[in-house]
């Protein structure tokens, strides 16, 4: 831009053509910003909101003006002190959450403006432009925050000019791209790819069913210029990039699916076998399936069914099941394994490993889905999730989705929705009641309702106006997409019914909602329904040890997933909110330490709950999709669990030191947000 040309003279902002020049517009806006910040700074806290509007409005104009963002950044060190964030969720810089940035930047209204100002403020902290006493965030934390934010928003750092990105980037996409250009320039991209690849590996280790976000991250990461990348990191990334798109030499050569299909026809058995093996290795390593894999599976089904076991990467158990159910498997492949649904190949492999097709209710349920009459809105919702029009039917998507959930029960995720309860349910039923899950899915897809009994009354989801979610984020697997709206409504209605009872409503709702797999014994740390006061924490911990710790519970292993409530904390140990996970098992890890293995429906990669509590997802004996924590660390974040009163061991035997340790850790983290009795 021509910033220097208007300096010096008292330009009134019009060049020869009569239109104001960009530089003079920025100059004008900047002097207005200074005045607005001054007024804001002078205002008392209760009146700041009057003056914030002016700042936001001028900031928005600067965000959209050529050279305006740098000008805005030049004042960023004053934002906090002036009160730009007073009265809103951005107030305390130390409480900012990297995962929330993207949503605000892509939103409408004033949010993207405030979010941008907040990023600029953090950038000023990171660059040492804010005095240490003037902010709650340290310089190191600011740098780390921005690195995380960059890793989560690669689309703005390396934008692609596709229609999809233009739409998904939100109304402020252009200024978001400028913002990240500025952050990248100031912070540097050096550690970026390593961070991103870490995140990709962490997410992939959990083997999510819905791989859209993972694939997007992989694609974004491959845009990072080669000179900014260490070779070892690039190699790790390449594994995922290949798995998502072209894991074999032939698929690399023929990216066009039709050409690839033709080439497969000319392959002899040995070549086909080799191709199938490469695909199978690639999924087993990454959990990602390339569209070409679906073409191969279809080819194998038609030409060499004996290779199907190889193409699916099955072991002895899976092969035995395949042999017994070959006819059904071929039929399902024909309907549901398509380039658009390639990810379901991994699900199908899981279904065979778990011998699910030998259960008659599962076989019947899946076949019913093939020709089910779908509600028109269900059909629309399913088809709307496709990346492009490819002729696939909504039924095919639903069958593929069901295969994925049944094959990978721990890969269910809640997406960007507050529906951990529903995700947890789908996961539980796909493990222990697959017939029931399919029955609900069929009812939701065909009849537009799900029914559940609650305390002698039959509740119909179609009679309930709304649940917790007002607008479902549709970045979900097909089964969740269809079921979650119903489950969410049923769950909220049940919680409403028990809202006035004297104890935590989950006590009654969980067994009714999830079914007979949840024991009726229930313990919570909260003494009141409003959940503001923690009482008798030591009794609570004793009971958990006596029912779950093998040294005190008389060796009763967990039979079914136990829905428990956690108080989630951030990396500094500050309370964020309640979250639902399922305990899956308790056992010794390879290093001899006792751990709790659990299912966390939020599919998050890096998790840091502060004070050294970092759930791990691999390397400590976890199966794919499991998270784990050392036993005592888990207890420090626990606030509610179910148990079978007849399987309670020796609560009295739990040593007082253990109780004290746990209580201290709880009080020092989430407990700070509550009163204790």
């Amino acid at each position: 831009m021509s910033g220097s040309t208007t300096e010096g003279g008292a330009s009134l902002g019009r060049d020869a053509g009569g239109e104001p020049s960009a530089a003079s517009v920025v100059e004008r806006l900047l002097s207005r910003l200074d005045a607005a910040l001054e007024h804001l700074a002078e205002a008392k806290p209760f009146a700041k909101s009057i003056y914030q509007t002016d700042v936001f409005q001028i900031a928005e104009a600067l965000m959209n003006a050529e050279g305006g963002l740098d000008a805005l950044y030049s004042r960023a060190h004053r934002f906090d002190a002036a009160g730009v964030f007073e009265g809103g969720p951005w107030l305390d810089a130390s409480k900012l959450q990297p995962p929330l940035v993207e949503g605000s930047l892509k939103a409408r209204g004033v949010y993207p403006v405030v979010e941008t100002l907040s990023e600029l403020r953090v950038l000023a902290i990171a660059r040492g432009r804010v005095e240490a006493g003037a902010t709650t965030m340290s310089r190191e934390d600011a740098v780390e925050f921005l690195q995380d934010v960059m890793a989560l928003n690669l689309e703005f750092i390396f934008p692609a000019d596709t229609e999809e990105e233009r739409i998904s980037g939100g109304p402020h996409r252009a200024s978001n791209i400028r913002l990240f250009g500025l952050i990248a320039r100031e912070i540097g991209l050096r550690s970026l790819l390593a961070d991103v690849v870490d995140e990709i590996e962490q997410i992939s280790a959990q083997r999510p069913i819905n791989c859209a976000r993972l694939t997007r991250m992989v694609d974004m990461a491959t845009r990072i210029p080669a000179d900014a990348v260490e070779p070892a990191v690039a190699e790790r990334l390449q594994v995922f990039a290949s798995a998502a798109h072209a894991p074999t030499p032939l698929s690399v050569e023929l990216s066009d699916l039709a050409a690839y299909r033709q080439a497969l026809k000319d392959c002899d058995a040995a070549k086909l076998d080799a191709e199938a093996r490469m695909f199978a290795d690639s999924i087993n390593e990454t959990g990602l399936v390339a569209p070409h894999h679906a073409v191969l599976v279809r080819r194998v089904c038609a030409q060499a069914p004996e290779l199907l076991g190889v193409a699916l990467g099955l072991g002895a158990q899976g092969r035995a099941e395949l042999e017994a159910q070959q006819e059904l498997v071929l039929r399902l492949c024909k309907v549901a394994i398509l380039p658009a649904t390639a990810q379901a190949i991994y699900g199908l492999a899981g279904v065979l490993k778990r011998a699910m097709l030998s259960r008659s209710e599962v076989a019947a349920g899946l076949q019913r889905l093939v020709s089910l009459d779908l509600q028109s809105d269900v059909r629309r919702t399913l088809l709307a999730r496709r990346a492009h029009r490819d002729g696939v039917t909504a039924n095919a998507l639903l069958v593929a989705g069901a295969l994925s959930v049944l094959g990978r029960p721990l890969g269910v995720g809640q997406g960007n929705n507050p529906t951990c309860q529903a995700a947890r349910g789908i996961s539980l039923w796909s493990q222990h009641a697959p017939g029931y899950l399919l029955e609900m899915l069929i009812s939701a897809a065909r009849d537009g309702l799900v029914e559940k009994d609650f305390e002698g009354e039959r509740l119909k989801s179609s009679d309930i106006e709304h649940g917790l979610v007002l607008r479902l984020d549709t970045d979900l697997d097909p089964v969740s997409l269809v079921l979650v709206p119903h489950l969410d409504r049923l769950y909220s209605l049940m919680m409403k019914r028990v809202a006035t009872r004297s104890e935590d409503g989950h006590k009654w709702v969980n067994p009714a909602f999830y079914g007979r797999w949840v024991p009726h014994g229930f313990a919570s740390v909260f003494a009141d329904v409003a959940q503001t006061t923690v009482a008798e924490h030591d009794d609570f911990v004793r009971r958990f040890y006596a029912t779950h710790h093998p040294a005190y519970n008389e060796g009763h292993d967990l039979m079914y997933p136990n829905p428990v409530g956690l108080c989630i904390t951030n990396a500094r140990g500050d309370y964020l909110g309640p979250h639902a996970v399922s305990l899956l098992r308790v056992g010794e890890d390879p290093h001899g330490a006792l751990r709790v293995y659990f299912f966390n429906p939020n599919n998050e990669g890096r998790q840091d709950w502060g004070h050294g509590v970092r759930p791990s997802i691999r390397g400590n004996g976890e199966s794919e999709g499991e998270s784990s924590l050392p036993f005592h660390q888990m207890v420090t974040r626990l606030y509610a669990f179910h148990y079978n009163p007849y399987e309670e061991g020796d609560a009295f035997a739990v040593p007082p030191e253990t109780l004290q340790e746990v209580e201290q850790a709880a009080r020092g983290s989430w407990g700070r947000a509550f009163s204790w009795r």
Partner: protein, 414 residues
């Protein structure tokens, strides 16, 4: 503050209004805010003296507000919003032991009643009638046009329809044909019907103490509900003596002693003034902001001072400037979306570069679909102007009234 350390009586502000609280706080005038219960957390967080009150509920416990305020040492209640006007009447009547005060405040809440009162005191008003249903409207519309000796083939003269008790332009409709009458909803009745008044429309913000005008501002309406500025242009200001006389007649007719009123008038080219309506709360159209910019004093503070019988003439004289000594013309444009779907805000660069442009508060709407408006609804955003020439101010407001600030990326749905 000019009260030389004398402890000012505590003022109760009726309604939650941050600019009002800030204005009083700035001049060190102690106040207490009476706010609806949903603002409790805000008041507590900022440690502001307050009483929680649900203004929408009138019942046998309503007296309690007056008593509570008296116990808290309040001497004067200042109504900020239309819905709080009768509460101010009740509280002030109780505190001053003058029951008639309440009934006088009630006049401000019924547009037909206030017109009748004005008419009884010889003030020029249009022909008006209360209507309970569509038939009433139809009859009034026909009779007015008959009285104007209109033929069936002539274009009918429009009549105005307003709810009896709503602020400003809310629910204001033009009736131009039987078609307009047919679409009226049952919940729009009862309402006020009145003939269309010719002449230039303007409003006054009159600060009254001891029944005397202490400051009279004239706000010029470029287009009612869309654009206005302060002070009025010289051609209207020249006629200030006529305006002042009309306002004095109004003060007399309504028996107003203390506070501020916001009447609307129409003035004809031969200086005949017709009375439109009058309110006793903070005016809309950002008028208080404009007055503050144009004259350099806070109308909120002036409102509070004038509401208080204990304020001295000296204090008023020290605080209020000369009506003829404005610093600038301050105007604003209230912007409404013109399309049904809006996704973007487009502010022309030439506006931002204009010397008279001050600021705007236009943000991209959170939902793209524009809410259906019946009559005049709330505007979506505001553009502020400031400069030293009223003609240029008027031209700018007219020019930017034509600009479509809210646009859509998607093709507009039809």
């Amino acid at each position: 503050m000019s009260n030389n350390g004398k402890q000012a009586p505590r003022t109760a502000l009726l309604g939650f209004c941050i600019p009002a609280m800030e204005a009083l706080d700035k001049v060190g005038r102690p106040f207490l805010a009476v706010v609806p219960p949903e603002f409790e957390a805000y008041m507590q967080e900022h440690d502001i003296a307050h009483v929680l009150w649900d203004f929408s509920r009138v019942n046998e416990t309503s007296m309690q507000l007056s008593k509570t305020l008296q116990e808290r040492g309040v001497e004067v209640a200042v109504p900020l919003f239309e819905e709080t006007v009768e509460w101010a009447g009740a509280v002030n009547g109780f505190l001053r032991d003058d029951p008639r005060l309440f009934t006088r405040y009630l006049l401000f809440r019924d547009k037909a009643m206030m017109k009748r009162r004005a008419q009884m005191y010889g003030i020029r008003v249009g022909v008006f009638e209360e209507a309970d249903n569509r038939e009433d409207v139809s009859r009034f519309f026909k009779r007015v046009n008959k009285a104007l000796s209109k033929l069936d083939s002539d274009v009918a003269d429009p009549v105005h329809l307003k709810p009896l008790a709503a602020a400003g332009c809310v629910g204001h409709r033009f009736i131009r044909s039987e078609q307009d009458i047919a679409v009226l909803q049952d919940d729009e009745f009862p309402c006020l019907l009145e003939t269309h008044l010719d002449g230039q429309e303007f409003s006054c913000e009159v600060f009254i103490h001891d029944s005397k005008i202490r400051f009279l501002n004239i706000t010029e309406y470029v287009h009612l509900g869309h654009s206005n500025f302060v002070p009025a242009s010289p051609s209207l200001e020249e006629r200030r003596p006529y305006v002042r006389k009309a306002v004095e007649e109004l003060i007399d007719a309504f028996g107003i002693q203390y506070g501020m009123i916001h009447p609307e008038f129409f003035i004809t080219s031969d200086n005949k003034i017709n009375f439109g309506e009058v309110a006793a709360r903070v005016p809309g159209g950002h008028i208080f902001e404009l007055i503050e910019k144009a004259y350099g004093f806070s109308p909120f503070v002036a409102f509070a001072m004038c509401s208080d019988p204990a304020t001295t003439d000296e204090e008023l004289a020290a605080y209020l400037p000369d009506e003829r000594q404005h610093k600038d013309y301050a105007g604003c444009l209230m912007v409404y979306p013109r399309q049904k779907i809006v996704t973007r805000v487009d502010v022309p660069d030439r506006l931002i570069a204009d010397d008279y442009y001050e600021k705007h508060a236009l943000f991209q709407p959170v939902t793209p679909k524009v809410a259906e408006r019946a009559g005049f609804g709330d505007h979506y955003g505001t553009v502020y102007f400031r400069g030293d020439n009223s003609a240029r101010m008027r031209d700018l407001l007219l020019e930017y009234e034509q600009v479509d600030f809210y646009t859509s990326d998607a093709p507009a749905a039809s």
